[in-house]
Symmetry: C2
Subunit: 303 residues, 2 copies
Amino acid sequence: MAKDRVGFVGLGVMGGPMARNLLAAGHDVVAFSRTRASVDDIAADGATAAGSAREVAGQAGVVILMLPDSPQVREVLDGDDGLLAGAREGTLVIDMSTISPVVTREIAAECAERGIGWVDAPVSGGDVGAREATLSIMAGGSDEDFARAKPLFEALGKTIVHVGPVGSGQVVKACNQVVVALTIEAVSEALVLGSKAGVDPATIIEVLSGGLAANKVMEVRGRNFLEHDFTPGFRIDLHHKDLGIALQTAREYGVALPNTAAVDQMLQALRSNGRGDRDHSALLTHIEDLARHTIGAPAGATA
Amino acid sequence: MAKDRVGFVGLGVMGGPMARNLLAAGHDVVAFSRTRASVDDIAADGATAAGSAREVAGQAGVVILMLPDSPQVREVLDGDDGLLAGAREGTLVIDMSTISPVVTREIAAECAERGIGWVDAPVSGGDVGAREATLSIMAGGSDEDFARAKPLFEALGKTIVHVGPVGSGQVVKACNQVVVALTIEAVSEALVLGSKAGVDPATIIEVLSGGLAANKVMEVRGRNFLEHDFTPGFRIDLHHKDLGIALQTAREYGVALPNTAAVDQMLQALRSNGRGDRDHSALLTHIEDLARHTIGAPAGATA
């Protein structure tokens, strides 16, 4: 059986390299993005250029979306030039954007009425994972739709988990972003406390990494904290967007997330202070500012 | 050179097995505890029984303390029957209790004036680690005092780190307890959000453990969360005590710890609701109660 032609909408810092990995794996890709230049670029690399999401859906049985947030997904679907105008019964949409699980379930239900399948498959691993095809993919959808999406996922990522019915991928991604943000915040509180009380922050990370306090954030971002190197990585702007999704989902399902709400406000403050483009480990600087202390500086020293 | 005779004050759930490990390693132990029965017990195992902390200090060059909190340490030191009444120039006190770094530094300064050395050496690893001599020991003190304490630590623990001058051990322990508590809280928020939004909590832990959200709490307490098995382990009462130390230390050094303060209040609420004797992973039940949801139950089901 010939491979489905694969549609791809959204050729940004994540979508661009992902679409190229599909080409590299031998897939026939038809691509569209709001930025015409990125469509031209990938056409030069062997993809078929499309002028709209509708055109993509007209030419491909499976369409992958990689967009910033729920409104952009909604926008790509609707209207005369939208994906739904070009889709037909049997089309499968694989939304790899990180968006609201609630919106996902609404959209998937609308699509189901027209016989269009939906798999939500947000990723973690960032732009490096996108380029190197090592993304972690958390997919929600029916067994049948997941099976159809899986060969494409294998060209894009390393860890691929089918976590439940449609919407589940976005739910797990939201959970992931909660734990990552709250862990960065926890490590930041510990480092500022310990440093201002006179202990070398590198020692704190070393000792804590040997016990129940150990976490991946200290392992892979330890150097960033210690050297105040906040080159992204994963930007505060994006993590703030993701906590917004978690909090909105919590509100819809009647769940109280006190520390997620607090960290969301910290990320807002960092953005308002011009630090939205830094790596999320720069949450440390918010806790430092509260104490007017830079970790590693002599105890009591001001930033 | 003959080994120092080792004094031991505090023969509770931690101190009892630790003193026995010193005996097993061939040390000559003189022991005292508030509970007469535990002194008699260890005397039957080969230790010399003492009637007061003063007597212990009169018979031993190095005295280990393993007590509940700062007031008990202060109490053991002071008064006619206190340790300081029996100590002399050259005595070394090794305080393995988890107490305030600020109180530690005050006491150590008083001791230094009399030529008495102080090493603060709080541990992690719990009663299992105490019994099996696999504790992690975070020690603060001078190089000379640490060198004198080290052979004793080797009979008690596995990971032994000299983290800085006196007080540093307690600082690092406070940092450790902050990160552990905040991690348990973070995982709890994620599990309740994900479960109430319809995803299997075991799947959430599995997927999150594969990426930047990974932490030791999910690894070793995952089963406790999923099965609601909150047999301690490490009791909420004790973790609440330790966050009190972290917050008091933060106050002394001028550090703001917003999420530590929030989690401290959650632990207080759990204690006030009769759950202080459960494992600290029972923090999950606080977040569950806020949403009236038990993880793993059908979405929207009440506890």
